[in-house]
């Protein structure tokens, strides 16, 4: 009997790398200084090296600020639930190394875009992000996946905001980090991507948009090792790889939430990969419209009402995004529609379990039904800050952050939403179980169920 082929995914996901961001704070909530953070980094690095399961995990300081630390994962496959669970467990373990090292130095960790406890001199300079890198195999994929992330940047940004509180005061933006970040530029539509002509592209972007470096865009098409694209039949599964890098996500404090984000990002990449492989391309959404929606998303988070692309000329009645539907849409609802209309097949190929997506979908579904709920952690942060006096807010947030960073399954906003709307949550969960059941996709395509 020859070896059996049990399962085939035609356009699958690729490996994923995460630079998980943390803010190192002293016991009073102030940002750690250079000496302190270096001591913590060395201690945590030693702890990482002692754990065999964390081979390839490293600690890095990507930001200019000494208090911003990143736990960097290697490129890891996330094709199955088991692999994703392993990814998250290893991330939690790596985080615990950092957490232990910080506590040993009487410090604490915060996982938010800016320091929620204490203010810096003027504007925050310690800006903390979760940077995701999605592996790509060839230039066509870069073009499609990059443009796809660009098109859905406002929706993704809206649920990823997590810097609504700075120095115990509620900010006017849900993502203060994105507002003050000097290295955050609107990703421009790339009609044709070729590594061979990268210099021309960079020169063009510099001349037309006055942007000297593509990697400063919120979506960086040159993440990882872009030189890998030059070799047409490069071996796969190497340690280094070309990747599309997402720089717009504020540092998150809940690992189930990060898991849901990772799944969504991978599903979008799978859709882009499919487009590339069948030779299809993506229509351009105007920069003006995207810029406006990005501003709305970082200002209002999940509650932002995204506007359609009024600059678009084509009258084709395609309806896969806010821009094509030509009607304003709440960001969370727009994201749900994106999942339902475009990403379901990819999610099935990822063997996505409904519970993996609940941290995002439950809040969004409740919001669609106009129920009071939390759609992301920026809203929760804001709620805590308004509901409690300053000292109590600090104590609660510190305690909850510690709990969240120590657990791979604890997700406060999901638990809160479920408790507040028990019956409705059950109903939503059963609907999503149905949507993500394996037969759903083939039925919708008009094929016989397996």
């Amino acid at each position: 009997m020859p070896p059996k082929l049990e399962k085939v995914i035609i356009n699958g996901s690729s490996r994923h790398r995460l630079y998980k961001g943390f803010l190192l704070l002293d016991s009073n909530g102030y940002l750690a200084n250079e000496v302190l953070s270096k001591r913590i980094e060395e201690n945590a690095q030693q702890r990482l090296l002692q754990r065999l399961a964390l081979t390839g995990f490293t600690l890095e300081r990507l930001s200019d600020h000494p208090a911003v630390m990143h736990v960097m994962t290697p490129f890891l496959p996330l094709f199955t639930v088991k692999q994703r669970t392993l990814f998250i467990l290893r991330l939690v373990a790596a985080t615990s190394c950092l957490l232990e090292a910080a506590e040993e130095a009487s410090c604490q960790l915060a996982a938010a875009g800016v320091n929620p406890y204490r203010k810096e001199d003027e504007e925050p300079r310690a800006l903390c992000a979760d940077i995701h890198q999605i592996e790509v195999y060839e230039e066509g994929e870069v073009e499609r996946i990059y443009n796809l992330y660009r098109q859905f940047l406002p929706e993704l940004l809206a649920i990823s905001t997590h810097s609504a509180v700075y120095g115990t005061s509620v900010q006017k933006d849900f993502s203060l980090r994105m507002r003050v970040n000097l290295a955050s530029y609107l990703p421009r539509y790339i009609s044709q991507f070729s590594e061979q002509h990268l210099e021309h592209l960079e020169l063009f972007i510099r001349k037309k948009h006055k942007l000297s470096n593509l990697s400063q865009m919120d979506i960086n098409p040159l993440g990882g090792d872009p030189s890998a694209l030059r070799k047409p039949e490069r071996p796969l599964l190497l340690k280094t790889a070309a990747a599309v890098e997402l720089r717009f996500i504020d540092a998150q404090c809940s690992f189930p939430f990060i898991r849901a984000q990772v799944i969504l990002l991978q599903a979008l990449a799978m859709h882009g990969r499919e487009l590339a492989r069948v030779g299809r391309r993506l229509f351009p959404v105007s920069d003006e419209s995207l810029d406006e929606n990005k501003a709305l998303a970082l200002h209002s988070g999940g509650g932002a009402v995204l506007r359609p692309d009024s600059y678009r000329r084509s009258d084709e009645p395609r309806k896969s995004s806010t821009y094509e539907r030509k009607e304003p849409e709440v960001a969370t609802t727009a994201l749900l529609k994106l999942i339902e209309d475009t990403l379901l097949d990819a999610l099935l190929d990822l063997e996505c379990e409904p519970w993996e997506l609940y941290p995002i979908t439950l809040g969004a579904e409740l919001r669609r039904r106009e129920k009071r709920c939390f759609a992301n952690y920026a809203e929760y942060q804001q709620y805590l800050c308004t509901a409690y006096p300053e000292e109590r807010f600090i104590a609660i947030l510190q305690e909850q952050t510690r709990l969240l960073l120590s657990s791979s399954t604890f997700d406060i906003i999901c638990d809160y939403n479920r408790q507040l709307h028990q019956k409705l949550a059950q109903e939503i969960e059963s609907v999503w179980s149905e949507k993500l059941a394996p037969h759903h996709s083939s039925e919708s395509k008009g094929e016989a169920p397996c």
Binding site: P3, L5, V8, I10, Q196, H197, I205, E233, R277, V278
Partner: protein, 431 residues
């Protein structure tokens, strides 16, 4: 009861980049699997390693092991999961030259060639630095330098956005990634010629002498700093004027009025909304400007005639200059027609005044008058400068004691009167 061991599932990525057939569904993959599965038995399994199987004539199927699940070799009961089929994309868009993937389009070919024939691959697409637009060899734009060379463009000027060939490229003094054409470079970074002569090189010559005569193909263009450039403020004291170098500043008084008029019309007027800008569509003002330091007199008729003589030359000017030219000619024609009528009216009034106030003889001695100039005064009647021509050498009766007689008529007519003796040749201004 004995439990059957669960067979391990080996995850692989199927790499078909050297297989050349498009495997894009489960059925095709199953068929391919049938041809390779037996050849996998006994092969070593290691996470990250490759299982390569040649089909025929160089067709290679590669399986990259994502997760070997602890298995060391492929056995007949090994179960495989393919997590992705990495393959070359379907070629919907093909390069018209080599038939490879052609993501680029020559936009000039879009209208002239059949659909799909405008496509180019990264090798055959040509670019001009600073533009993300692809061209085919045929449509690569030519160099736009003034020497009318036959080169193709290789870069786009940062300042004027024009396309130029390599010979016309000059880099920014401090940033080698920014390119300018030579003309723009000189304009932006050229040093003041006067300062350079004096041995000082720090002043930038941002101003250019605009002097141009009929026998010059281009304006003088001498680079000057603000200190060494003369601004001939023809649009008023609070606006920039025509820039002239030291040499042409002296020449302007002797230049042909036709050249000077052409220069005044073709030079771009100020666009600033701050400060009052005077229009050149005023015959009196034109004459005042043209008479600057000039020894010989210029009549209104001569100026209008000169303006009309420019009509042929004006066809080569840009549309804005042509528009300004038409406006000036129309206004001057109209003024020229009005002048004799107004002169007659004023002459009659002055004669009548002196007949009544001085004597019949004094009135009869006024031979003629000419309007020399006219100033527009906001909120007040226009002020005329009149040359009154007398057939007598004395102006005393016309001035009166303490100038009372002449002041009254000046105030009535809103004019300043100058008296000229025409009994001598040439006529003499009576002081």
């Amino acid at each position: 009861m004995l439990e059957m061991p669960v067979p391990a599932v080996v995850q692989v990525i199927c790499d078909l980049r050297r297989f050349y057939f498009n495997i894009d569904n489960q059925k095709k993959m199953d068929e391919l699997w049938e041809t390779i599965n037996e050849r996998l038995v006994g092969r070593e399994l290691r996470t990250g390693s490759e299982l390569g199987v040649y089909i025929d004539r160089g067709k290679l199927v590669r399986l990259w092991v994502v997760d070997a699940q602890g298995q060391t070799h492929v056995t007949p009961d090994t179960i495989f999961h393919i997590t992705d089929i990495v393959r070359n994309p379907q070629l919907v868009y093909r390069c018209r030259t080599c038939n490879n993937y052609g993501p680029f389009r020559c936009m000039d070919c879009v209208d002239t060639r059949p659909r799909g024939q405008e496509r180019l691959c990264s090798t055959h697409a040509k670019f001009v630095e600073g533009r993300w637009r692809a061209y085919c060899d045929e449509h690569l734009p030519p160099c736009r330098c003034f020497s009318f060379c036959k080169d193709t463009a290789t870069f786009c000027c940062e300042h004027c956005n024009g396309f130029y060939g390599e010979h016309y490229r000059t880099s920014h003094p401090h940033d080698k990634t920014i390119d300018y054409c030579q003309k723009c470079y000189d304009r932006l970074f050229g040093h003041c010629s006067v300062c350079s002569t004096e041995g000082r090189s720090e002043s930038l010559g941002t101003l250019r002498c605009s002097f141009k005569s009929w026998d010059m193909a281009y304006p003088c263009g001498e680079a000057l700093c603000w200190k060494h450039a003369l601004q001939w403020k023809i649009w008023g004291p609070h606006q920039h004027g025509i820039t002239l170098c030291e040499r042409h500043k002296r020449l302007i008084r002797n230049s042909n009025p036709k050249d000077v008029l052409a220069m005044m019309i073709t030079t771009r007027p100020p666009r600033s909304r701050h400060g009052k800008s005077f229009s050149l569509a005023n015959l009196y003002r034109l004459r005042r400007l043209l008479k600057r330091d000039r020894t010989e007199s210029l009549s209104f008729e001569a100026i209008v005639e000169t303006l009309h003589a420019l009509s042929e030359q004006s066809k080569a000017w840009d549309k804005y200059a042509q528009q300004r030219y038409k406006e000036i000619v129309n206004s001057c024609d109209k003024t020229l027609q009005e002048i004799p009528i107004r002169q007659n009216e004023m002459l009659a009034k002055i004669r009548e005044y002196y007949w009544d106030e001085v004597s019949k003889k004094a009135a009869q001695a006024i031979a003629w008058l000419t309007i020399e100039d006219r100033y527009v005064r906001p909120g007040q009647p226009d002020l005329f400068f009149l040359a009154v021509q007398l057939t007598t050498p004395s102006k005393r009766p016309y001035i009166g004691i303490g100038g009372e007689t002449v002041k009254r008529i000046e105030s009535q007519l809103s004019a300043r009167l100058d008296f000229w003796d025409i009994t001598v040749t040439p006529p003499r201004r009576i002081d």
